[in-house]
Symmetry: C2
Subunit: 386 residues, 2 copies
């Protein structure tokens, strides 16, 4: 098995990018990543996307974007696992290179949620949940997360205010990220007085509808120094686990079982423990998911995720810095692209290029990309070359 | 790099399966494949699907089907490349095993085109083409293929009747396939007098709207004999190439450039030539694609694909047997599942289990799975263990 590493990253700013189409976004991120790596050609492209067939009448994004970026002819496909598509596409690239069949691969997470030509975004997002047993009853995706959050608050006697630090930390970190959608800090008061979206999820518990693309160039470790002047960032572990799509069939709605299994597999493969992780990019699509992810990945005991946040441990200077460039809440959550953005942010930290948000001495980091209400979880552990 | 092989295959009949949902279809094919292999568990599942988000309000099929078949927790994702999704998902599985990171993988191609809850199938199929430059003008997928066929007939002075043998051969072979949708032979007269769908594509040039699922179990060659009593079928080559999505941007509309490149890469990796291929499962979604695929893969010169058919060389007893279990025309074309059906039919031949349709001494076979009007092509070469 060949060792795999990252030699280039790129991204577009996240926002309501009315002037950019799906292919514009994908190509912009890929060109930026290729330029960063100092390469002009790749052998394969793996596109992560969830909503294009629904919102842009466009499937078949692999060939489309490969052609538009100037790489006509290369191997190209799309990987989908709802909001975990980005992590899954990165894993596909890691495997392709590790197998020895592909030398240089690009991953591009792209999503265009504005300008939808075919119906509401809410219905499209609901395709991440079980269409027959949840969607058919009219349960939107935010409503399902609200059920989980309400249950968590009841079960562990945690008040809504306890989730505030997740959103406040994410927004604070987004201020210094030029690619973030919301570059403004929020106070505890603003959080507590925000309008409800789906009780108990309020405006600041919920990530935005937005457009964006992020890209990563990977190659085998032995080729890295010949191909690129960048310090390679090694892929130490890549692990996916799944659970039932519908909440009603989970063995334990608050356990985020797929996140636990995915993290356990990743720690095992990398021969590392939570204490070795210097920075953790969580999937804070909703505040409740940040808390559950911290618990499932072994950073907090069950029901204690919010305590970690309240103690300031999740900030850039804390014990487990999360959402360091703004997370899904502050940076934005273009769903199929999010897993790639998480990895780009993580790699930025491991390269020591995170500027004002730099986690001191970040050498090993983890990202956790969640699809649906926890039905697919992809965990990656990356490390700086010593 | 580990050698990869197939140890199990399964499928549902193809048809208008009103009583089966997406998950029913996927699970039925997977159970059948697992039973055929004699295994009960896999490490990963790669689902091939194109239309579920559009037609069934369901994305996130990896976790959904893994759970429903009884494999909750395993790695699972969806791979999409329009009608080439099946080939692309199989390639993802091959890479995962070759990398050493996954030992036993399942591939499941599944598509449910009937019972659509969200608009016409024709609009959903058009997402395989370029939404901005083709779909926006109202070009349906069959209309785009009709343009190619009309150009071919004009350029090479080939009459419509010359395509008849493709459809007649496919229907003849479907008669003996219990899983085929159309188990009846057609005559030359029936072909020539069929109603037009999109001139010059008539009813018998065009594959049907249908439901179905096919599945394959793969593992490393060294594990095969311990895991299964079946004779392993080796994956000798797996290659993908792409072209522009829109026809107008092709360098040559009649060259099927991605098929040529994909086949060339596959021959190169397997160290084989067209003359070594005993059976060739082509992507005859439309008769014109069968002709172009034969030319691109080196079995006929440019413009001579129909001659091969007219000479009887494409029948089970011919030099290049194609569509041996009915192909997309006779067996059926549940789009995202088709690439897996092609491989299942090929493996059936290489195992010598094709019954009345058995190609004598079939030891090496090829499948070519085409997405869009030729924008993604995945070629696989498989071989019987000697």
């Amino acid at each position: 098995m060949r060792e795999v590493c990252v030699i280039g990253i790129g991204q577009t700013p996240i926002g309501e990018l009315w002037e950019m189409s799906l292919r514009d976004l994908g190509a912009a991120a890929l060109r930026s990543a290729a330029q960063d790596a100092g390469i002009e050609q790749v052998d394969a492209l793996y596109v992560a996307n969830m909503l294009a067939p629904r919102l842009s009448n466009q499937a078949h994004l692999g060939a489309l974007i490969a052609d538009f970026v100037g790489w006509r002819g290369i191997e190209a496909t799309t990987v989908e696992a709802a909001c975990a598509s980005g992590g899954a596409a990165f894993q596909t690239a890691v495997r392709a290179i590790a197998s020895g069949m592909i030398d240089v691969a690009a991953v591009c997470g792209v999503e265009k949620m504005t300008d939808a030509t075919t119906g509401p975004v809410t219905s499209a997002l609901a395709t991440a949940a079980d269409a027959d047993f949840e969607g058919a009853h009219g349960a939107s995706f935010v409503a399902l997360n609200a059920l989980v959050m309400r249950r968590y608050m009841y079960e562990y006697r945690v008040p809504h205010e306890a989730f505030g630090p997740f959103s406040i930390n994410a927004h604070q970190n987004a201020v210094n990220n030029p690619n973030a959608m919301f570059r403004k800090a929020i106070s505890e008061k603003v959080y507590n007085n925000a309008p409800m979206i789906a009780d108990p999820i309020n405006l600041y518990d919920s990530s935005p509808i937005c457009d964006g693309a992020a890209a990563i160039i990977l190659c085998s470790l032995e080729m890295a120094h010949d191909l690129s002047k960048n310090t390679p960032i090694r892929v130490l572990a890549s692990a996916t686990a799944t659970d039932s799509l519908d909440l009603a069939n989970r063995r334990d709605m608050l356990a985020l079982e797929a996140a636990r299994m995915s993290a356990a597999k990743a720690y095992d493969r990398a021969k590392l423990a939570p204490s070795n992780i210097d920075v953790f990019e969580v999937h804070d699509a909703f505040s409740i998911m940040a808390a559950l992810s911290l618990e499932a990945a072994g950073f907090a005991e069950r029901g204690k995720g919010t305590y970690l946040a309240q103690d300031g441990e999740i900030t850039v200077g804390g014990r487990v810095p999360i959402s360091t460039m703004g997370g899904l809440k502050g940076r934005g959550h273009p769903v199929g692209a999010t897993g790639v953005y998480e990895l780009v942010d993580l790699i930025t930290q491991l390269r020591g290029e995170a500027g004002a948000n730099q986690v001191p001495n970040a050498a090993i980091g983890m990202s956790q990309n969640i699809g649906g209400t926890g039905a697919t979880v992809v965990t990656h552990i990356l490390g700086r070359e010593n």
